[in-house]
Structure formats: C-alpha cells, structure tokens
C-alpha cells in the first residue's frame, strides 16, 4: 500500500476517534490493527511490548478520569483507556511496516513535494540516533571540563543546536557534492506507485469508520 495514503488514513482515524466515545470501536480498531500486524509477520514479542508499554499511561488516564472526572465517569475512563491502545496500535501499523524511505519516495513522486523537503525529512530521521549519542557526548565533554550540563542547561542546548546547524550545513554540502540541485529534475530508481486500489482502501476505510461511528448500534 502507498505509504502516504496509509498515513492519511491513519490520521483520519486518529482524528475521528479523538472525538468519539465508543469503547467497542476502539477495541475493534485495536483488533484490526493487530490482525494487520500479524499478517505482516510482526513478532509476537513486539506485539506483547505494544500491549505492555502503554499500560502505565492508560491506567493513569483511566484512574484520573475515574476519580476526578465528571459525568459518566466509568464510561469516559474506559474510553480513554481503550483510546490510548487504539492510537498505539493503529500507529504501529505504520511505523512497524513502513520504511521512512518509502514515505519520502511517495511524498516526492506521488505528491510532488519539493525533493529538498522529502530528502530533508529523510536526513533528519536518519540523524535521530546520532543526536541521542551526541547529547551524551556533549554531557561527557562538559564533565571532563568540570561542568555538569543538566537537561535544562542552556549550554547543552546551545551546543546541540550548534552541532545540528553544523550538520545541516555539512549535509547540504554533501548533497550538493553528490549532484543534488534543488528543483532540478531527477530520475527515480525506486518507483512509488499510487494506484486506484490505494484510493479504494482509503475511501472504503474512511466509509467503514463512519459506519462504525454513526450507524452501528454498539452496546
């Protein structure tokens, strides 16, 4: 499936379930997402983690609502509890099965976003693990000069921003030296396809969601 359409569908689902209070719908979405993940050979262990990790925030939300909420406290508590899981699982159907490179390809080729933007997103994504390690290095470098850089220290952020600016300049030079020119035509080795089936899945998916929200008499 085209990653950009998949992302769009998930956005619509997330937006709509944020405004509905149907527990069964949330659970249905979780089950559907789980079937999708299993069909894509996601490891059972990963699914196990997806169930365990959100438990703490979900219980937190549930109890806050149950203790301090107004109106139908029990209903709202369970809506929030299941909603967290619906977000996590529908989100996982994207992050666990889609490669960021495919998304960049789709944004560039199907939606004709400037290639600079598509590759910028990609490069930033590739930098995330480097940035985490860099923060650790900056803090160690600080300690070696006698200075403790806490997480709210302006120097840490100054240095991290400086490193990022430097990286972005170097990245721009690296891209230029590898022949990248803004707005110039490029060929595409990986072909990103956007076909009628993608649109059909989107339309049917959104349609079913409306049926689930407005027509099905959930109990």
């Amino acid at each position: 499936m085209n990653p950009s359409i998949k992302l769009l569908l998930l956005f619509i689902i997330a937006l709509e379930i944020s405004f509905t209070m149907i527990i069964s719908l949330n659970i249905t979405l979780v089950i559907l997402a789980m079937i999708y993940l299993l069909a894509h050979r996601t490891k059972l262990r990963t699914i196990g983690w997806l169930l365990i990790v959100p438990l703490l925030p979900a219980i937190g939300l549930w109890s806050t609502q149950y203790i301090n909420g107004s109106g139908n406290k029990t209903l709202m508590a369970w809506v929030l509890f299941t909603r967290i899981y619906a977000f996590v699982f529908t989100g996982a159907t994207f992050t666990l099965t889609t490669n960021i490179l495919q998304l960049a390809d789709a944004l560039e080729q199907n939606w004709h976003l400037p290639s600079k933007f598509a590759y910028g997103v990609l490069a930033a994504y590739n930098l995330v693990p480097k940035i985490q390690h860099e923060v650790q290095i900056i803090r160690t470098a600080g300690l070696m000069r006698g200075q403790q850089l806490s997480f709210w220290s302006p120097k840490l952020y100054f240095k991290a921003i400086l490193v990022s600016i430097n990286w972005s300049q170097n990245l721009a030079q690296a891209m230029t030296s590898h022949g990248f020119v803004e707005d110039a035509p490029r060929t595409h080795y990986r072909h990103s396809v956007l076909c009628w089936q993608d649109w059909a899945i989107l339309i049917i998916g959104v349609g079913l969601l409306q049926v689930g929200i407005f027509l099905v008499p959930w109990v």
Binding site: T140, R145, N166, V181, A184
Partner: protein, 472 residues
C-alpha cells in the same frame, strides 16, 4: 578531460581580516595527478571548495574555469559531472542511511536511467574493492571504509575532475595505499584529473605529476621536479621510525586493568575478550589499522559505550565510580576537535578550562607562552568554529592540557597538523608532563615527531590488543 584555470583568484572569509587566498594564478592540465601541499590552515580546503562551487567566488575576485567555461556560469546540474569533492571528515559526506541508497541518490541526481543504476553501483563498488559493503549502514562503517564509499560515489557519478581534501586524515596505511592505487588507475585508465590536498607526503613521490605548494603569501607555486626528491626525502626521513619500545614493567603501578574486555560495533566483533594492564605515569601509544576499534576502546574507557568484561581504573571498577568524579580523572581528547568545545570564542574556552582546572601548573604566563608556541596568539577573540582544522586541533589539545586530568586519552592528536605544529605540540607536551606527571594514552596513525613521548606500544589488530616491542 578538463583544463582547469585559476585566474587572479582571491578569497577572504566575511569575518576574516586577511585574505585566505591572494591573487592565485595556476593552470591544472588534464589527466594529471596534482598534489597540493602546505601547512594546515593555509587555505587548501577553501581553494577546493571554491573549485567545486560549494563556496561561491565573488565576481570581482577572479575566476575559475573548466576548459574555458567559467564555473560561475556553469549550470548547477552540470557541475557534479565536471567536478566532485571528497571531504576530509568521513562522517560528513553522506545524506542517506546505507551505502547503496547513497549511491542511488547520487545517480538519480545525475539523471541516470533507473535500469542502469544497478550496474553502475556494482561497477563502482567493485572498482574500489568494497562490493561487500553494499548493503551496510553508513553509520556502522569505519573512517577508512567511509572514504572508500565516498570514492565509489565519485566513480559512479563519473566526474571529470576529482578533488580530495586531506582524504586520508583518519585512514590507515593499508586503506590509504588502496585508495591511492585506485586514484592512479582513475587517472591512467579513465583520464580523470586529480587534485589532492595533503600535508603527509608519504607515497606520493612516484605517482604524482605535479606538486603545488601554498606559499606564505597565500599564492600557489608549482614545485619544480628537481626539488621533489629533497621535498619527499625530507618527509620520508622524519616519518621513518625503527624505534623500539620496551615491554612494560610488570611491577609498575597499573592505571587501567582490562579483564576479559570485549568490544562490538553493531554485530561486528572488534575486540576479543582481552586481559591487559596499562601503566600509570607512562605514555602508551596505540596503533593499528582503522576500523580495528581503537576509538571504540577509548569510548568504552570513558563509559560512552557499553562493553563486556571489567575495566578497573586504579582500584575501582569504572562502572561503580560516579560519572562526575570519573570524568575529572580520565579525560578524552576527541578525534573531532569541535566535539570538545563548549563555548564560542577561543578566549572563553581558555577561561573555562582555567576556572575548573585541577592543578596549578598552567599560570596565565604559561598559557600565553603555549598559545604563542602553538601559533594561536592573536586568535583569542575568534569564534572557534571559524578556525582552521589544524588550529582547532591545537586549541583543543591546549584546553585539555590546561585541565591537568591525571589521565588523558588522545585520539589522533596529530590529525590535520603540519610538521612544525607537530614539533611545537610535542615540545609543549613534554615540558608539561615533566611537571604534571599525567599519563597519556595516544592513538595515532602518524608517528612523525611523536616518538619521543612514547614509553610503550600497543598494537590493535585483528581483534587483538597486545604490547609490541617494535613498531612495524
């Protein structure tokens, strides 16, 4: 095939007072291998960036032309086909995640048809001899491997002129020799014009066609062939080292003790479980091919990465020590100088080190003298990030030396330094150590000028870390 003409070229950085290049005149003939040499910080990088168009040359400041066509008027999309640049820092040349994706990205930019891309990638990788790296992630490669990938990208893009900016600064002799062989092959078989900036002159004597030097007046001068032998042999002599170091004395005080320590990079084993003792108040040199894991060893000694086994500092397992206290005991001089800096100007960096200093050796007078010795006087108010690589390195070493941590791990301290800077630096280290009694552990590919400092020699090769009696 292109004749490159530099006409009356001058360049001054916006924030600088003196021009970096001053009325440069020179012609590079096609299919020639030119070695561009000169002390660090004299404008080699600037010249190469101007020649690629990464820095743009103001119209009134002369011209750069390829076969009579002015670079400034050349379409941006044609530039990469004409000229490619390989950077000094292996970590700053790639936009994508993997070797294959980077090559695809470059070929797409060059408008290569999708059905030809696979063949071009295969050819370029096998030309450089790194076919097995195709699917690897760039983040997991060593410096030498990254430079080989960078060359493969240039080969795939098929640019006429190949510029290289100190490409071997963190590359071991074996990888360097292999890269040089490929460059010669590119000149002889594909007719490429090659201009390589380097201050280490080893191995060039028999392969280059032209040697160009940056003069103190910031101009380019061709070194006559008759002077080559003097130039190269002077360098070769200083670089020859048949120095033998003794094996460490078993009874001396240990500094670090490694018990069954093993290191990994991704899934790749760097060091097999090893037992080893490093000695206090002695200086140990670590050499070995790049990618062998020398820097990773340092990172594990300062707890920046995880390892298996046990590392003891003096009497304690380093994992049991508080980070803050341990960082004051064992400091790391990072390979990339910028990593070390926390402030904006040179003076602020010096002030920070003075504020948190550990001992009283570095008085203001001694710091001033060291600044002069390292040729840094007058740069106090300059923003660190505008210094040349060589100046950054010297400042980095000075600020870490001022701290006087009992142990200083130095990762390639001579990187990017010319010979006179190396001598000044080693002299400074010797006088300082005589008073401060610090212990140094030094990783270096370059031994020229460094040998008087060294007591013991460790070789890191083929997953082993062992003491050696002689350098080979």
């Amino acid at each position: 095939m292109a004749t490159i003409a530099l006409k009356n070229l001058s360049y001054t950085y916006p924030e600088a007072q003196a021009p970096t290049l001053n009325h440069v005149q020179l012609t590079f003939n096609p299919q020639q291998f030119t070695l561009l040499t000169g002390p660090s910080g004299t404008g080699k990088s600037t010249l190469l960036k101007l020649m690629t168009g990464l820095l743009s040359l103001p119209r009134t400041q002369g011209s750069i032309s390829y076969d009579g066509q002015d670079l400034a008027e050349m379409a941006l999309t044609d530039r990469a086909g004409q000229v490619a640049l390989m950077f000094q820092n292996p970590n700053q040349q790639f936009a994508m995640d993997s070797v294959e994706n980077e090559l695809i990205f470059a070929l797409e930019n060059r408008l290569v048809q999708p059905d030809q891309i696979d063949a071009k990638i295969t050819a370029a990788l096998s030309f450089v001899g790194i076919s097995e790296l195709r699917k690897r992630e760039l983040n997991h490669l060593s410096g030498g491997e990254k430079q080989k990938v960078a060359l493969a990208v240039i080969v795939a893009m098929d640019s006429d002129v190949i510029l290289l900016d100190e490409p071997f600064a963190s590359v071991d002799p074996a990888a360097r020799a292999s890269l040089l062989k490929r460059l010669v092959q590119l000149r002889d078989e594909a007719g490429k014009t090659i201009i390589l900036a380097d201050h280490d002159l080893t191995d060039y004597a028999t392969i280059v066609d032209q040697v160009v030097r940056i003069t103190p007046a910031r101009q380019l001068a061709t070194v006559p062939t008759s002077d080559w032998s003097a130039l190269f042999s002077a360098f070769a002599k200083t670089n020859q080292s048949d120095q033998r170091w003794p094996l460490p004395d078993e009874t001396a005080t240990p500094l670090f003790q490694l018990q069954q320590v093993a290191l990994k990079q991704g899934s790749h084993q760097l060091l097999q479980p090893t037992n080893l003792t490093l000695l206090k108040q002695h200086n140990t040199l670590i050499t070995g091919p790049n990618g062998s894991g020398k820097s990773t060893l340092f990172e594990s000694l300062v707890r920046l990465i995880s390892y298996t086994g046990k590392i003891t500092y003096l009497t304690d397992d380093i994992q049991t020590l508080r980070r803050k206290r341990y960082a004051r005991q064992v400091a790391l001089l990072f390979q990339d100088a910028e990593t070390q800096f926390l402030n904006i100007t040179v003076a602020e960096e010096l002030a920070q080190s003075q504020k948190y200093v550990y001992g009283d050796y570095f008085t203001q007078a001694r710091i001033d003298a060291a600044m002069a010795q390292l040729n840094l006087t007058g740069h106090e108010d300059q923003v660190i990030y505008t210094l040349s690589e060589g100046q950054k390195k010297k400042l980095q070493i000075l600020i870490m030396l001022i701290m006087q941590s009992p142990v200083l791990l130095m990762d390639e301290p001579l990187k990017g330094l010319d010979l006179s800077s190396v001598h000044a630096l080693v002299a400074l280290l010797q006088t300082t150590l005589a008073s401060t009694k610090q212990s140094l552990i030094i990783i270096s590919h370059q031994l020229t000028g460094l040998t008087p400092l060294i007591d013991y020699h460790l070789l890191f090769d083929q997953h082993q870390l062992q003491y050696r009696e002689a350098t080979t």
